[in-house]
């Protein structure tokens, strides 16, 4: 028994020493709000992390913490990585904003990247993607394909990004059919397959024959498949779950951004900035168009090319729900107005939760 104990202690001591050394030039660390198995938001960030590993090989080591709740645990998780020698830390949820800023103050040499927030510092950059560009395209498709002229939108929480998504979808739809109707249901959750499925059914029962969602699970698409209506994938290509129902999907593609920023750290050229990439930068990717007639695919591709060429979906004329003018003809909304959007465009059949 004594010998066993001795051996154990020796092994532990050895292990502790050997773990201290690491061969990589840089350690890149990630904090996820959900499980990497959500097949949605966190899953796609983790795909980006895997792209980094593939791209840099042994030069960059990665680590991640998943299911870190926004709140008191976030600051500890971020600080742990900063202490563990991470050179760059990606915090991938809005609720991590203030903890990221706090920890960044304590560790001026570590680079921080916060997704979807608005506070920056000399060592804190922010990044997000223009998902609303994709939403404009699927809005157009919806208006072309819907027989009832009504789509259902399953929304998570009324934050600007989600509201902008709804508006972009509506503008896209109205560009095809000015009388298009959109019903919105808030499920107050990013991730609850059961609730999302129930909401999808409720929307279909009320006449929607196109379902789209700004929540993370594949449940709404599966309901669409079962009920014989159509929908769109969210965050990742979900065609496997709805081979007949999915028209396309708005895919979050974080890999290119992560690789670019990590390369900059390695080169010593990293600077704090706010990145808001879209289709042009390859940060938002449309999954293959399926189950669609050729002319609709052509229209979608044309819009995609137009957006990639620099056109902004939030270009006037845009009328707010209350009838006031949001943007005159030909005027493009400023980034700040889109990032802080708290109003609906005209035609959305819902009252925005205030």
């Amino acid at each position: 028994m004594k010998n066993f104990l001795k051996a154990t202690v020796a092994a532990i001591a050895f292990a502790a020493v050997s773990s201290a050394a690491s061969a990589a030039d840089l350690k890149a660390c990630y904090i996820y709000v959900g499980p990497v198995g959500d097949f949605g938001w966190s899953y796609q960030h983790d795909q980006g992390r895997k792209d980094v590993e593939k791209h840099f090989g042994d030069k960059v080591e990665t680590a991640y913490l998943e299911s870190v709740p926004e709140g008191p645990d976030a600051e500890r998780a971020i600080e742990r990585f900063a202490r563990d020698g991470c050179g760059i830390i990606f915090t991938t949820s809005f609720g991590y904003m203030n903890p990221t800023i706090k920890v960044a103050k304590k560790f001026p040499k570590v680079k921080f990247e916060h997704a979807t927030g608005y506070k920056t510092a000399s060592n804190v950059a922010t990044y997000n993607s223009k998902f609303h560009e994709g939403r404009y395209i699927i809005g157009q498709i919806a208006a072309k394909m819907s027989k009832t002229g009504t789509a259902g939108y399953i929304a998570s929480f009324p934050i600007p990004e989600v509201v902008a998504g709804i508006n972009a979808f509506m503008l896209g739809a109205q560009s095809v059919n000015p009388d298009f109707k959109l019903k919105v249901v808030w499920v107050n959750s990013w991730f609850d397959p059961g609730k999302e499925a129930d909401a999808a059914k409720a929307l279909i029962d009320q006449g929607a024959d196109i379902i789209t969602q700004h929540t993370d699970s594949t449940a709404p698409l599966q309901v669409a498949e079962e009920r014989g209506v159509h929908g769109f994938g969210q965050a990742s290509d979900q065609i496997a779950f709805a081979p007949k129902a999915q028209y396309t999907a708005i895919v979050d593609n974080w890999g290119p951004y992560y690789i670019e920023r990590i390369q900059e750290v390695l080169d010593g050229t990293w600077e704090s900035k706010s990145t808001w990439g879209g289709i042009a930068e390859g940060h938002v990717v449309m999954a293959p168009y399926t189950n669609l007639p050729d002319d609709v695919v052509a229209m979608a591709k044309e819009t995609e090319a137009k957006i990639a060429g620099g056109w902004e979906p939030f270009t006037g004329p845009i009328t707010k729900q209350d009838g006031s003018v949001a943007a005159e003809d030909g005027v493009t909304l400023e980034d700040g107005a889109i990032l802080g959007m708290n109003w609906y465009v005209k035609g959305v059949d819902d009252k925005l939760p205030q």
Partner: protein, 363 residues
């Protein structure tokens, strides 16, 4: 072969001390097997999980930060459970207390005096107590089962928080994002140490000591225990079950609300849509692991917090999945609970149905 429990004549003091050690030993073996099965070095894994967090002042402070709200809530819950009041809605009381405690710094941010913080704490405790009194009153007035009502109110409280943070209490300068304004200096709990530890930690220790004395040495403590073990005897002694129910719920809710306010003021500095990673539920486990004894709760809270911090450490440094961490946590709880049996019972193994006296066992 069958296992039989034989009740000891009195609590085994030896086992009371030994059983947690055996439990930890079993957990270590199980964890080592898990690590090995998932392709990680088991020794390194165990070291990172259970020992390294204790060797570094930062992580020790983090363990204390994590343990503080759980200990505070569990203390109140212990009083509930000792007196047979099944309050499992501490999570809601935590949240509602935090809401009430945040009222001042969010609605009257310019009110910055030395009174701000004490007022917040009082409001928080009152708020938590109020939320806990709802199931208590429904129980005493309408006989409604408190397990259900207290649990349902958790969901209501978290939806209310959600509504406020996304609506009326949204930070006016926050681009409509769901968060309240940051608290001012006057509304922030003073920090101690060089990490994130605030005076909430010593407050929790004081609560533990006071409660330990009250339970062991005072008439109130006697009342709580008597009413839990034998309500009829208590009634003869002139104790009122209804009043005790109200008292236990109010105390538990008050402590949970205080914990919520201190968490928001000391660590978050603002309200977010989620302010608790399930503290109210974890505290139930802490209360029972600590054998409903305040000092035991202190130890249990520390151990459970260690299992969180350690789980995070192996995840961050060795890429061990967080599911393994939660499996280890579940096993630790099972082993501790199972080993505690040894305090009250001796285990006897039988080869057949007959026992030493030849009588047929009915169990």
């Amino acid at each position: 072969m069958r296992i039989e429990l034989v009740k000891r004549k009195e609590h085994s003091r030896k086992m009371a001390l030994l059983s947690p050690v055996i439990a930890v030993g079993l957990t270590l073996v199980a964890a080592a097997i898990l690590f090995a099965a998932s392709g990680t070095d088991p020794f390194l894994g165990l070291y990172k999980f259970f020992i390294e967090p204790l060797t570094d002042s930062w992580s020790v402070q983090e363990i204390i930060v994590k343990a503080t709200p759980m200990v505070l809530i569990a203390c109140g819950l212990a009083v509930c459970y000792l007196s047979n009041n099944w309050n499992i809605g501490a999570e809601g009381q935590f949240i509602f207390g935090a809401l009430c405690g945040s009222f001042l710094p969010i609605v009257y941010p310019e009110f910055e005096t030395s009174l701000t913080l004490p007022l917040m704490l009082v409001l928080g405790a009152l708020g938590g107590a109020f939320w806990a009194l709802i199931p208590a009153v429904l129980k005493t007035r309408f006989n409604a089962n408190e397990i259900l009502t207290s649990l349902m109110l958790v969901y209501v409280a978290s939806l209310l928080l959600d509504y406020l943070v996304r609506g009326p209490w949204r930070d006016p300068g926050g681009y409509n994002f769901p968060e309240s304004r940051l608290f001012s200096e006057a509304a922030t709990l003073p920090l101690i140490g060089d990490g994130r530890m605030s005076i909430a930690a010593p407050v929790a220790v004081v609560v533990v000591i006071v409660l330990a004395i009250v339970l062991a040495r005072t008439l109130k403590g006697f009342e709580i225990r008597v009413m839990g073990e034998s309500p009829r005897a208590g009634a003869f002694a002139g104790f009122s079950a209804k009043r005790l129910t109200l008292f236990a719920f109010a105390l538990a809710g008050g402590l949970a609300g205080l914990a919520g306010t201190m968490e928001v003021s000391g660590s978050l500095n603002q309200l977010l849509p989620t302010i608790s990673p399930g503290y109210g539920f974890t505290a139930i486990i802490v209360a029972f692991l600590g054998r409903l004894n305040p000092v035991g709760i202190l130890v249990a809270g520390f151990v459970l917090a260690l299992s969180y911090i350690g789980g995070e450490a192996v995840q961050a440094s060795m890429g061990v999945s967080d599911k393994i961490a939660s499996v280890i946590q579940g096993l630790l709880l099972f082993f501790v609970l199972a080993c505690d049996t040894l305090i009250l019972y001796r285990i006897r193994l039988h080869s057949r149905r007959t026992t030493a006296t030849g009588e047929v066992s009915r169990a």
